[in-house]
Symmetry: C2
Subunit: 386 residues, 2 copies
Amino acid sequence: MRPVAVVGMGKTAFGAFPDRDLRSLAVEAGEKCLKNAHAALSQIDAFFLGNFAGPSFTGQNHLAPYISTALGLRDIPATRIEAACASSGSAFFHAYNGVAGGVYDAVLVVGAEKMTSQSTPKVTEILAGAGDCAGEVKAGSTFASLFAMIACRHMYQFGTTRQHLAAVAVKNHANGALNPDAQMRKMITMEQAMAGKPIADPLNLYDCSLISDGAAAVLLAPAERAGEFTDKPVRVLGIAQASDFVALDQKPDITTFPAVRRASEKAYGMAGIGPADVQLAELHDCFTIAEIIAMEDLGFVGRGEGGPYTLEGHTARSGERPVNTSGGLKSKGHPVGATGVAQICDLVLQMRCEAGGRQVPRHSLGLAQNLGGSGASCVVTILGTV
Amino acid sequence: MRPVAVVGMGKTAFGAFPDRDLRSLAVEAGEKCLKNAHAALSQIDAFFLGNFAGPSFTGQNHLAPYISTALGLRDIPATRIEAACASSGSAFFHAYNGVAGGVYDAVLVVGAEKMTSQSTPKVTEILAGAGDCAGEVKAGSTFASLFAMIACRHMYQFGTTRQHLAAVAVKNHANGALNPDAQMRKMITMEQAMAGKPIADPLNLYDCSLISDGAAAVLLAPAERAGEFTDKPVRVLGIAQASDFVALDQKPDITTFPAVRRASEKAYGMAGIGPADVQLAELHDCFTIAEIIAMEDLGFVGRGEGGPYTLEGHTARSGERPVNTSGGLKSKGHPVGATGVAQICDLVLQMRCEAGGRQVPRHSLGLAQNLGGSGASCVVTILGTV
């Protein structure tokens, strides 16, 4: 297994783009990435697409060659990976393995989703397909209701409060307001976050990530060849994917996700670091409670401490460990299949000192955590310039 | 890159099973495979699922952990691969790369699809999603009509006849009649095959593969460790995946599939063999014309010679190079996401001399060709006991 680096990145703005289709978004991100890496099409050995539900959202299936050929890539393996909201984190993981294992030299990974052409009820139904349709979905569950149950239990068990949840939203909106590619570029106050329209008690509108269109792309290459593409390579120091039950009722404890714990343990081991070494992170805040639990499962804080840690400002840009400087899924947007690669892109921007107004001072070791469903899939990636 | 072997296999019968859901089929195949390989769950390092359109056929998405956890697998990476009808061929390809590259030791690959719970018009619509929805599908194309155009052109250009197409169907039905797992276990005569109900001229009912439920599984491991699982390992001598345009109208010549040519060239190169060395093959006969073109693109025969070669009996069980001794997609059935792995399973049965009444005498070097859409994805795998 040889060292691997991210040698290029590109992304679209996230938002609702009625005039753009899935392919044009994916192509825009892919072309920006190739340009960013000064890479020629002929250098690309494989194409991976992370996409959750393109066929359901748009009708179009067989999306990997549909997009790769529009980028001008032919002949090479073009493969779509689906792992719910962790689809492009997983695509990145498999692309990494291909380069690390010596199968490929340069691999383009694109994550993309086009969601806003469907009505919100239809989007909710399609997203629910990442849960257990025969069980929880049949009984009326949506992802907001599943994470509401998780939040209720976390509140009961650890004393987490509505204010803790709101603190996640306020912070992520403050970050997103500085991200030119974010869908919702506005700050919110604690009062606003506390008083949002109810969605699934105790979660309100400001606890829920957005319905978005968007795409993101990265180019991976062997670290020893990174200089051919960029003078600002970012090394993949550790990465792992893990899995668990899809249905919430199969989990013995719904306030912790074993797949996140397992993936992070492996990724930390590979990188030879511990959670205390992580300087900044992009975490999967599909709901505010998810960011709190992620910090606990990743070992940033002890169980039940994620809420107070956020409220005390430790995860703000000015805090000891900034989380979601991009704005996160909450404010940047959550085009499901794009999210995993977008997290990598946002870490790379920080590590290159290209994050503009949201740049943080300590940026040499970052972690991305991409969650699928209510914890059935997770990919944890540790990046470094050290 | 280290040598890799297939060390176990398992499959369900293919057919219409109103009482079975996608997961139960996938679990049956997976469990049979693990038993066949004498493998414990704790030995499995990764799980790959090939599935084309589970979310559209059944509503359930996020299928990899949904199935892997039902098999008793937790923690490990569980990933769904979608590449239209080449989904599980592609899953096998990526699993192979993981083992060859040293990422994993033992990888379980399952291909599965549940199609018959939908009406035939709905199935036709879902399958069309593997074509170009904004172009050819919007204009009314179905896969039968796309392959009908391909057949027309092949007839015009090379003199291929209805009789040549029918010869493929007669042969594959003769093979499927001997396969206890086949969906359609009946022989047909040339007269029947010629007189089938029209579907999309010049293709009739007997030129079209079936709508099926089913699953298939294989276990991959490093060749040097194969003995831990089986005394009948089958080596993966060569494998490649390639891609091309999704829309037929983007292809300069619709009577040949560049992705098949490219994938087979790479696979032959890896295996150090040429097409003349292939003793038996499982080819992607989604339509009879597809088997004819596959033989041409794989170099078994020259362009335009696939029809006469079939009619002369060279691809029959008693011929010089048996093709689709399983019955092929035509008679064995075509649960889309299962097909690629099922092809591997059927070659393994031949190579282990476990193919029963359809056993052929020369079985030490076999090739599987799994096609996605009208040629936008292709995986070619060369297996050997030599």
